[in-house]
Subunit: 397 residues, 2 copies
């Protein structure tokens, strides 16, 4: 498997477009992904009970397991907009489908931006012709720009790998920057591939990859009303169809997790309010679920996050947050390392404070918590909590 | 029921003492509560898996349901201190019991302060004589000062009420200021009463009151390793013994909830980093548990807390945090009010922005979320999230 340029247009048969239609004050705000051939499609959406209209509509369209296109707008989330919002989302898919000459239910939709304002549906529909005309095999960057809100850098990647003598390609683009304006910070991720794969295998692979990537990042513990991951597989590589349980499936899974992991890390790194990228590994747990609960409890603790922002070797906060996860911990077996230095082993131990301070002053900090209870582990990624986070989120409206 | 002065020495037969023994850099740091007569006793402790030595020891001593005294030190939490910490806690209770001439197991213990440092047990034991000599029927204020760490004001209250012609008194003192230095911000609360009550009734009353007070405040979602609430009932009022299910029990319960509610609110209000006191009421839920989950999800959301700090009428964040609680919400039935103004009803509604901004600029802000799903409700109290919170917690070590 090697990384290649081209983002979501790297796989065969995908064109994209990214234009400005006027929703945002400036910049591109409307993107389209189009597959020459109908693709097998799968999606994972926010688990928030309050779900935006485009999330509900795409979920409905996806019951067929097929799609040809995805239209995405930034600047307006179309969330908390009632029945009108749902109708508006439908209108957008109808307009785009009309221009493409395909069925409306073959066009998925995603939105990101402000909550509670009606979608400027006229603006989008009247731009649909221009959007479709802009479709291009090299349009990946334009599309990736158009889905951004407060993101400070473009998030895309593609990888190529070989299965039984045939090259398969997986591409991805994403937006999200939790620390900045989290109302605007819906996490969106779109993945394209030319692999031939059956629907069940694609859904399984997507579920596994989400679990190992997006479900393991946390910026402030909040899940948006619009979070969406969609994958389209058009089969144009001509490989033997991938089913679950095969070696090809494992290779595909690896490639999918690779690009989604890159997207997830980029989202964590892209926060103006965030000064540090924090990796928290919990090992020696009885189950992966236990390890994940504890890792997330530490990653979501404001006390841990402020201590890390301040470069303070305050391991008591880490121990306390670990204990706060609702998982039984035997304190005498608990050890904590910051960087390479062990700072707790069953109880307080002597450690090199200067060494720990040095680890904590880096841009990337690694914390390892060992429970001594079993063999399972989990790693999550998060950021520190800074005055800038508060300032930016106070000022946003 | 009326509020009276005297704090925990207002009930008959309780003396307290508060002195400096040298654990903290300055100020009193050692307190003692003593009942002339052996008291029926009950405690509620932190649910954190990592529990400080004094928590484990007091829990053990309390298996008898009886106690005469409580010794409390500030400046050192005796947490993450291994078997040595447990021995140290025992040594302290033995020293104090020796000076009082009672059994060691009759002396409960609580600690608050820095985690992971050995308790300066010599310092405390050698001050035990002076501590006991200081016992005074008017010693409530000295004791309340001695348990403080970063608290900025004294937290105590007493109430008197009449049951079948006999006056009963309940007093309380507390420490805690989550927003400041949460490692030091263990929540401690001690309640004394001269009511005669059986052990089962006291435990039940305490459990109910904790559920309605301390379990409904949240500053940053973290629970400390040392949180402790202890109640001592010495029966010196001479009333007919209170059992569960009686009218006297209900009156006692009311008084207990009253003083504990005051303590809980004072703890939320006492945060240098906190600029606002926030009340979040969730109503129209199918169960009180659902209402509480949603209220806490909103109260613990950094996005909601920063919006409130900034005075921003950003109700989308409230809706999103409500949806994030793991409780099913029907968006079309969801309404949200800030102050007196309704800002969402099923979807976005027109509202008076200036009126909402005015409500948000006050020291106390009330948010009501109605689910339209049932008749149960729950109210929780929290604070906003400010730059000061981050600054203070970064700098502390």
């Amino acid at each position: 498997m090697k990384e290649i340029p081209g983002g979501i247009t790297a796989p065969a048969g995908f064109k994209t477009s990214g234009i400005r239609c006027g929703i945002k004050k400036k910049g591109k705000d409307l993107a389209l992904i189009y597959s020459e051939k109908e693709a097998v499609a799968a999606g994972v959406f926010t688990v928030n009970s309050v779900q935006a209209a485009p999330v509900r509509l795409s979920r409905w369209y996806l019951r067929s397991g097929r799609a040809r296109a995805v239209v995405i707008n930034s600047g307006n989330a179309n969330a908390c907009t009632g029945t009108r919002g749902y109708k508006d989302a439908k209108t957008v898919t109808r307009s785009v489908a009309g221009e493409l000459g395909i069925e409306q239910e073959n066009v998925l939709i995603a939105s990101t931006g402000i909550i509670g304002k009606p979608l400027p549906v006229e603006m989008i529909s009247s731009a649909a012709g221009r959007l479709v005309k802009g479709l291009d095999y090299g349009g990946n960057t334009a599309a990736a720009w158009a889905i951004m809100t407060t993101d400070s850098f473009l998030k895309e990647q593609a990888v190529r790998f070989r299965v039984a003598g045939i090259d398969l390609t997986v591409g991805a683009m994403a937006k999200g920057s939790g620390m900045i304006c989290p109302d605007m910070a819906t996490m969106l991720c779109f993945v394209t591939t030319d692999a031939r794969i059956d629907n069940q295998a694609l859904e399984k692979a997507l579920g596994n990859s989400v679990e190992k990537t997006f479900h393991r990042i946390t910026v402030d513990g909040d899940r948006s009303t619009n979070d969406t991951v969609i994958v389209l597989a058009n089969g144009l590589a001509g490989n033997r169809k991938i089913g679950t349980g095969s070696r090809a499936f494992r290779d595909f899974q690896k490639a999918l997790t690779h690009v989604m992991s890159s997207m997830a890390r980029m989202i964590v790194k892209d926060g103006e309010g965030a000064a540090k990228f924090i990796e928290i590994e919990v090992e020696g747990a009885r189950s992966e679920e236990d390890a994940k609960k504890i890792a997330l409890s530490i990653a979501n603790s404001n006390l841990v996050k402020t201590a890390l922002a301040g470069g303070s070797p305050n391991w008591g906060r880490i121990a306390s947050a670990a204990g706060n996860a609702g998982v039984e911990i035997i304190e005498g077996n608990l050890s904590i390392s910051i960087g390479e230095e062990q700072v707790m082993k069953g109880a307080a131990v002597n450690y090199d404070v200067e060494k720990v301070r040095k680890s904590l002053s880096a841009d990337e900090v690694r914390v390892v918590v060992a429970l001594g209870a079993g063999k399972k582990s989990c790693t999550v990624w998060t950021t520190d909590l800074t005055e800038d986070y508060v300032r930016i989120n106070k000022e946003y409206s």
